[in-house]
């Protein structure tokens, strides 16, 4: 079965990202496919490469990056949410005259259309938020 996942909250403040990650892991372990995880609103903060949590804490961004690498999961950050929150890839940084790319490995910035597409192409869309 194809699962799409929507994450609406940032890491550490809410449990949404942790729950979504555990759900995605469990689905993949059961042989399901996780087609895409769409990060919306504060959820885009899950994709910042500038996150350096204490080593004995959970590494939320790194966990998602590793999941994407291991299972070819498409991690998409909403572009409008990113622009409001200072999340930039090379293209966005250039377009807005900002200095740096802070999108972590495995994540990419794209539009809300990707969420709609996930809703259409997945068998189930599971939402995690506040």
């Amino acid at each position: 079965m194809k699962f799409g996942i929507l994450v609406n909250e940032g890491p550490y403040q809410h449990q949404a990202s942790d729950s979504a990650y555990q759900f995605a892991r469990a689905a993949l372990e059961k042989g399901h496919e996780v087609t895409r995880v769409f990060f919306y609103h504060d959820g885009v903060y899950n994709g910042t490469s500038y996150s350096v949590p204490p080593l004995d804490d959970r590494q939320v961004t790194k966990q998602w990056s590793e999941l994407a690498k291991e299972h070819d999961v498409d991690l998409v950050l909403c572009v409008a949410a990113c622009q409001r929150r200072g999340m930039m890839d090379d293209g966005e940084a250039e377009r807005h005259g900002k200095g740096a790319n802070n999108v972590a490995e495995g994540f990419r910035i794209s539009g809300l259309g990707q969420l709609i597409e996930t809703g259409i192409q997945s068998d189930r869309l599971v939402t995690f938020g506040d």
């Binding site: 079965m1 699962f3 609406n8 449990q15 949404a16 729950s19 555990q22 759900f23 892991r25 469990a26 689905a27 372990e29 059961k30 399901h32 068998d123 189930r124 869309l125 599971v126 939402t127 995690f128 938020g129 506040d130």
Partner: protein
């Protein structure tokens, strides 16, 4: 068509559980996750609502074990009929029902 409803708020914080229970139909499943598991404690006002929903609407109610453990709720303190499940069980419920609705 059956729906898996997820509720992630304690009934003492928001009215998400009550809204959810008001929209469930026979055959639906309700999964309590995150702070939602607090509502599943036996002998509580929220717990009574869950028991009534199971008896009257014929919904199945589940609670995520990892979130119960994180909040100090042992399985033997759950309302009778509420089943503790793990994330694999969550995935199964999502697959078995036709849609998943999060009551955020």
């Amino acid at each position: 068509m059956s729906i898996l409803h997820t509720v992630n708020k304690s009934a003492y914080e928001r009215n998400a559980l009550e809204s959810c229970l008001g929209h469930t139909r026979p055959g639906d499943a309700v999964l309590l996750i995150e702070d939602g598991v607090i509502s599943a404690r036996a002998g509580s006002t929220a717990g009574e609502k869950l028991a009534a929903a199971m008896a009257e609407t014929g919904v199945s109610i589940y609670a995520l074990g990892a979130d119960m453990a994180a909040r100090g709720i042992p399985e033997d303190k759950l309302v009778d009929g509420v089943k503790a499940i793990d994330y694999a069980g969550f995935v199964d419920l999502a697959a078995e029902n036709d849609a998943v609705e999060a009551w955020l």
